[in-house]
């Protein structure tokens, strides 16, 4: 491995990392919004919309992101929907992640025994208070591990962006290998940069998980 080459490539990888992070986190933000809204719809059993959310979840959980991106990026323009690569990446991560987030949030709400809300209601709290002060804090602690896993999964999935010619880490590595054939250096940096991107999330997730244990009953 050549040290000079490594150093000279780092700025390129840094730019790619920033772009990946930007689009990735935008997508994750979108997925959380979709997740919360969808989980609320399923939890409160809103008619009709509930079914649409169900179909959406099944459709996006059972197809690969690569195929989803190809569809959004190459197929939709043919019926007049033109989307830039960046928005497409964000949408792809957001829609895929949304389907996973809905499941995570919904199962988080489901882990809270009915007894909890019944007790809260009988103590004189109203519905809103019950949800905000009793259900939500407990559900949050149940959701954290799944949430972290989803975020890490989505950040990893961003590697697919390179197929719709977004200059992400994967694209940069492929490009540099193609131009200068310094394969080992490029691949080494690629792995290192993914570690830089995802390891903090993994560690923060573990810490938050430990801190939010307070809301759990028993052990």
């Amino acid at each position: 491995m050549d040290k000079d080459i490594l150093v000279s490539y780092i700025p390129l990888y840094k730019n790619a990392l920033l772009l990946t992070l930007k689009i990735g986190w935008q997508g994750i933000g979108l997925s959380m919004i979709i997740g919360l809204a969808g989980a609320a719809v399923l939890h409160f059993k809103v008619k009709v919309i509930k079914n649409i959310v169900g179909i959406y979840v099944e459709l996006f959980r059972n197809t690969p992101l690569l195929v989803q991106l190809f569809f959004i990026y190459f197929a939709l323009p043919k019926i007049g929907v033109n989307i830039s690569a960046e928005i497409c990446g964000m949408l792809g991560i957001g829609l895929l992640g949304g389907a996973y987030m809905i499941e995570t949030f919904r199962s988080g709400l489901e882990t809270i025994p009915v007894m909890q809300s019944e007790s809260a209601l009988s103590l004189g709290l109203d519905k809103r208070q019950t949800f905000l002060y009793v259900i939500l804090p407990q559900a949050f602690s149940a959701v954290v591990p799944g949430l972290t896993a989803n975020i890490i999964f989505l950040l990893k999935e961003t590697s697919v962006f390179s197929t719709i010619s977004l200059m992400d880490l994967m694209f940069t590595a492929k490009d540099l290998i193609g131009m200068y054939a310094k394969t080992i250096e490029c691949l080494f940096l690629l792995v290192v940069f993914y570690f830089i991107m995802i390891l903090p999330v993994s560690i923060i997730g573990m810490i938050v998980e430990r801190k939010t244990r307070y809301a759990e009953f028993g052990d």
């Binding site: 197809t63 690969p64 195929v67 190809f70 197929a75 590697s159 590595a173 690629l190």
Partner: protein, 224 residues
């Protein structure tokens, strides 16, 4: 309104070519899934044994798999081995190596979780009855674990099928590549073919993964 590409698929052998591409992807996932599940069972049991060195190594392995995207692993194995060892791995072989590397970690973690969920009293009672470690695992723990494990590993199968779509990146002619070829070949006669063809690929993946994940949910509910 111009045609949206469904007619392109009906032309000549296009549709059967697409199915053949799908078959290539499924074959790779089938081989990887089988090896992953078998090796994952062993790795999962190893993780629950309280051997500090083994635990440490396996933990690092898990974390590495958790953090590095499968596509990166695919590149490292496919292009890296050629450079470092001068080996000429087939794209299919490197894809299987990568998916097994990833799948064993996932499966191992599932097995570990399932074994952990068996109450300690089961181990203790078995030991108290005079069984040795091997007997305890084979006759007491594993049968109980398997039941909890089957829905989870079926879920892993759908994930592996979805992930194999990445093999298009190392030049394997699977369903997405065939779709691109069909679209390119018919670019002049039906410029909008991308919609229909990619749409069909989307539906194909859904039709394969959806029943499997329904089965997993069904078993989970029934056996829980």
């Amino acid at each position: 309104m111009q045609s949206l590409g469904i007619d392109v698929l009906l032309k000549g052998s296009n549709f059967s070519r697409l199915l053949q591409g799908l078959y290539v992807a499924l074959e790779i996932s089938f081989v990887s899934v089988t090896i992953s599940i078998l090796l994952g069972l062993i790795v999962g049991v190893l993780m629950t044994l309280k051997n500090p060195i083994l635990c440490f190594i396996l933990k690092i392995y898990l974390e590495v798999v958790r953090i590095i995207p499968q596509m990166v692993l695919l590149f490292v194995v496919y292009f890296g081995t050629t450079r470092v060892f001068g080996m000429d791995l087939l794209a299919e072989t490197s894809a299987i190596i990568v998916f097994v590397f990833w799948g064993v970690a996932e499966m191992g973690d599932l097995v570990r979780g399932a074994i952990k969920s068996i109450p300690t009293i089961q181990f203790e009672s078995a030991y108290a009855l005079g069984m040795n470690k091997f007997q305890v695992y084979v006759y007491i723990i594993l049968p109980q674990t398997l039941r909890r494990l089957i829905p989870l590993s079926i879920n892993l199968i759908t994930r592996m099928i979805k992930t194999t779509s990445l093999v298009v990146m190392v030049g394997i002619v699977e369903v997405l590549k065939v779709a691109q070829q069909i679209i390119e070949a018919n670019r002049t006669t039906s410029p909008n073919a991308a919609f229909g063809v990619f749409g069909v690929v989307f539906i194909m993946y859904f039709l394969i993964c959806w029943p499997i994940s329904r089965l997993s949910i069904y078993l989970e509910k029934r056996w829980a």
